[in-house]
């Protein structure tokens, strides 16, 4: 027994055990418990009643138009925020990769939006968008683009885009940092050779930089999509609470309302299980990318 404990395998298990207990106790066990709850009707307002209803919750959700509308909004939120944040991130990274005075300072500063909490970020943008006193109104008025202050967030067609802008601002740094790190691994000799061969800036970008960034951008798209679905709740909660007229009600917020406002725990559990499944599709893609593309490939 003592010999086993001091063997590599024994020590290995011994050292990972505490972490495993915490991670699996608080994540895997609840996930399984969640399936169990989702097969029952559980209203917190009727304690003691807990009838088994089978797949009824899932069937109801899949037939619900509110659910599919929320899923659609979630995809729009995710696609737009991830796409634009990566494009802006790529642009910023390319600039910060050039030689200029104060480069180190700018590279450090770029992390600022990431460090803010989603709550402060949401509050800040809500204040900027404010219909009576907001900075956006003030700025546009001074520029002469509008004649009078507008209540931006009251427009069901536009509200989601304002939420997305706030999310993009906070999420851009991660893209910049990833792409910048990848850019620094490209040997400058490649560019010099291309210059000698007469390739202009655009061709060097198109045929050297972009192909070498392909993997990191792919990785960013997947991981940021997962994060965006996950984080959509915070930003929507802070800026619009799903309104106006449900126009920003993403699926995470819908699950929250169902469960913790209407106290339908069984229905909510089924709902959140479906959200997890959607995300797991991305997660599987991500794991494959991580497995094949990163420095951990050998380690795993």
């Amino acid at each position: 027994m003592k010999r086993w404990l001091t063997s590599p395998a024994g020590t290995g298990y011994f050292l990972v055990l505490p972490s495993l207990i915490v991670i699996f106790g608080i994540i895997i066990w609840p996930i399984l418990y969640s399936i169990y709850i989702s097969l029952h009707q559980l209203y917190l307002v009727h304690p003691g009643k807990f009838p088994f209803v089978g797949l009824e919750n899932y069937l109801k959700i899949l037939q619900s138009r509110v659910f599919w509308a929320a899923v659609g909004r979630t995809f729009y939120f995710t696609g737009a925020s991830v796409g634009v944040a990566i494009i802006i991130g790529l642009g910023i990274a390319l600039v910060l990769n050039q030689d200029f005075k104060g480069r180190a300072f700018m590279r450090g500063l770029i992390i600022l939006p990431w460090a803010l909490s989603s709550v402060v970020n949401g509050m800040m943008w809500k204040w900027i968008y404010d219909g009576s006193y907001g900075a956006l109104n003030g700025l546009l008025l001074q520029l002469g683009w509008i004649d009078s202050y507008k209540v931006w967030l009251a427009n069901p067609r536009a509200a989601m885009n304002f939420v997305i802008v706030a999310e993009i601002w906070k999420e851009t740094p991660v893209g910049v940092l990833f792409i910048l790190a990848a850019l620094q691994t490209i040997p400058s000799s490649l560019y010099q050779a291309a210059k000698v061969d007469g390739a202009g800036a655009w061709r060097r970008f198109r045929y050297i930089t972009l192909p070498l960034l392909k993997h990191i951008i792919l990785l960013l798209i997947v991981i940021k999509s997962v994060w965006a679905v996950r984080d959509s709740f915070d930003i929507v909660y802070m800026i619009t609470r799903g309104g106006p007229a449900e126009s920003t009600q993403v699926v995470t917020f819908y699950a929250y309302l169902t469960t913790f406002k209407f106290l339908r725990f069984g229905y909510g559990a089924a709902l959140s299980y479906l959200i997890t499944l959607i995300i797991l599709v991305f997660a599987v893609v991500y794991m494959r990318l991580v497995y094949t593309e990163t420095l951990y490939a050998e380690a795993i």
């Binding site: 418990y33 969640s34 509050m123 991981i223 420095l295």
Partner: protein
């Protein structure tokens, strides 16, 4: 010259929104609420900071809540960081250096848990915490946070352990150290800068977390993000006060991130960039 124009644009994009929050927090109401607002306040004042920290005529209640929330955030984020550093670092070492059956699948499973959305596990966690009478307690938040901070830390720290030459460890064991002895006396001290960086990262993540705290806390253990989210409903639409709270809540993560940016950037990108 074009490059500097672009850099100025990037600079404005990065700092302008947060600067406006800071300016709002040091403005007086009439200046802030004029149309258009005074971008540079004529009479900047730190009064709102004084009131939120020490309490004022109208704000004693807000100040009391604020202090309590700061305390809760420090307790939760601090204890999560400490626990994750201790058990996460040894787990991470084990995954990097030791070969044992099931190691690969365990590691992949731990990675996969990072993908699970909070909303996917909040309901069972809520029910479990309710049954254990852990709702609205530090312990409940501490345990919940640890479960999603740990995988992140194990993953990031693996990058640091990989950079420590295995020869050093072997030499220590030749000199009579046991495997654990070599880990504690040689490997962990060498990995200390990496551990510190990961700890800072964990602290920021735990400090900023909102969703779990919103659901699992009620009155006694509200963290700062939850309090901030209630500012407008609880204390009326006082934009100066709201901005002040936002700036104060952001100070720890912003200062930590800017001071240790090098480490954090490494931590954020370490797992994703080849060599």
């Amino acid at each position: 010259m074009l490059i500097y124009a672009l850099v100025v644009l990037i600079f404005l994009f990065t700092v302008a929104p947060f600067c406006w929050l800071i300016i709002s927090s040091i403005s007086i109401k009439t200046e802030l609420l004029s149309v258009p607002p005074h971008w540079i306040p004529k009479n900047p004042t730190l009064r709102s900071y004084k009131e939120i920290i020490f309490g004022g005529v109208r704000t004693t209640r807000a100040a009391r809540y604020f202090k309590q929330a700061v305390g809760n955030s420090i307790i939760v984020a601090g204890s999560v960081t400490a626990l994750c550093l201790v058990i996460g670092s040894v787990a991470s070492y084990s995954f990097t250096r030791l070969r044992f059956r099931g190691r690969r699948s365990l590691l992949l499973m731990i990675l996969a848990t990072q993908m699970i959305p909070a909303v996917g596990i909040i309901i069972p966690i809520y029910v479990i915490m309710m049954n254990l009478h852990l709702l609205d307690t530090h312990l409940g938040l501490f345990v919940t946070y640890s479960s999603f901070v740990l995988p992140l830390m194990i993953w990031i720290m693996m990058g640091y352990f990989q950079t420590i030459p295995i020869d050093i460890e072997d030499a220590a064991r030749m000199d009579g150290c046991s495997r654990l002895g070599a880990l504690v006396r040689v490997v962990l001290p060498l990995a200390a800068p990496g551990l510190a960086a990961t700890g800072i990262f964990a602290f920021i993540v735990a400090w900023n977390e909102f969703f779990f705290a919103l659901i699992l806390t009620e009155t006694a253990t509200k963290t700062l993000p939850v309090l901030i989210s209630e500012f407008s409903t609880k204390f009326g639409a006082d934009y100066v006060m709201m901005s002040t709270g936002g700036v104060l809540a952001s100070l720890p993560p912003v200062i930590l991130a800017l001071t240790f940016q090098r480490f954090i950037i490494k931590g954020l990108t370490g797992g994703a960039i080849k060599g």
